[in-house]
Subunit: 216 residues, 2 copies
Amino acid sequence: MDAASETELVPSGEGRPVASRRKRRGSGRDRILECALEAFCEIGYQATSVRDIAQRSSVSVPGLYHHFSSKYEILLTLIRRVMNDLIVETSKAVQDGGSDPVERLGAAVQAHVKFHTERQQESFLGNTELRSLGPEERTEIVALRDQQQAIFGTLIAEGVAAGRMHAGSVQGATRAIVTMCTAVASWYRPGGSLTSESVADQYRAYALAIVTGHLP
Amino acid sequence: MDAASETELVPSGEGRPVASRRKRRGSGRDRILECALEAFCEIGYQATSVRDIAQRSSVSVPGLYHHFSSKYEILLTLIRRVMNDLIVETSKAVQDGGSDPVERLGAAVQAHVKFHTERQQESFLGNTELRSLGPEERTEIVALRDQQQAIFGTLIAEGVAAGRMHAGSVQGATRAIVTMCTAVASWYRPGGSLTSESVADQYRAYALAIVTGHLP
């Protein structure tokens, strides 16, 4: 069958998303964040030292401490940033999606999927290293995840109320759709045969099938 | 909205699946595997030492080496075992699922989902530590994943050929369904309000909606 190739399931063939080919940004702070992200995805947060991050970023250890008080602050900054960006982009897509709940849900799905084709490493980090956050910060990030999921849940509840969607369980359909769309980060290959937009369109159709019964 | 609670998104509230409450098995080998799995999920493979695993398993380091030649062998054994078990259980469900491709796909989805509600830590490990495998072993595990995905792909292709399913892209629908069902391992809470069976039924309906257009 056509889906069964290594490249489909494992971006980079290395079992973790690799850095996109965009140019390293100039600022020391941004470079440190990018290099830390790479290291955390390659060997894990616990196994990465501040020295590793400094070396990858071509800054001294004191230079790194000028920007961040700890490795932990870097991790938290990365996970916070990606969640906030995701919420902003999805909310914007919903606002621009018109008044029909089906169209708005479709727009949310497309935004969420497109985001996850573009921010694969950060998505992997958020899924794997939530374990490394302290209780307070974990609560904060989980609340941001809930906020993102609530965008979808609200749209589905509206769609059901308007008779435009059907869901035995709004919560169940919401979770299925959001996790299906998030998983795109685990297999998408930038530069492969599928564009980010075509995947977003595909998943829009799958998500709407679940709540409207219209075939993709 | 009802989906937005911490407990829904983060089993154990710790950002990683916790060990199920089943009793530790007697044999030294099995106990070592179980304790290594816990450690790898808590702090990551790279950050876990052989000494850590021995301590958690209440065996000496030489005692551990009696069963495994290295930490790497333990990781590989865990990842291999869960993939093989998944393929066996799904294949069995398909065989018992009758002759109708829709029923067979439904049975495959239920088996895959149920498995992921029961083997959450191993699923997390397979997703996070594929990066830690060498090229040859990574290829082996990716081939097993492909084999699991091919079970679904073949059923969908058969369903389409028989006029019982519709899929713009068999590959796309297969991937969406399998990843949606795998993600159950990331949020399911054993002992919570949803039984393993009820989630399996829910996901059967979502998956069939994607390829048949029949509402869940």
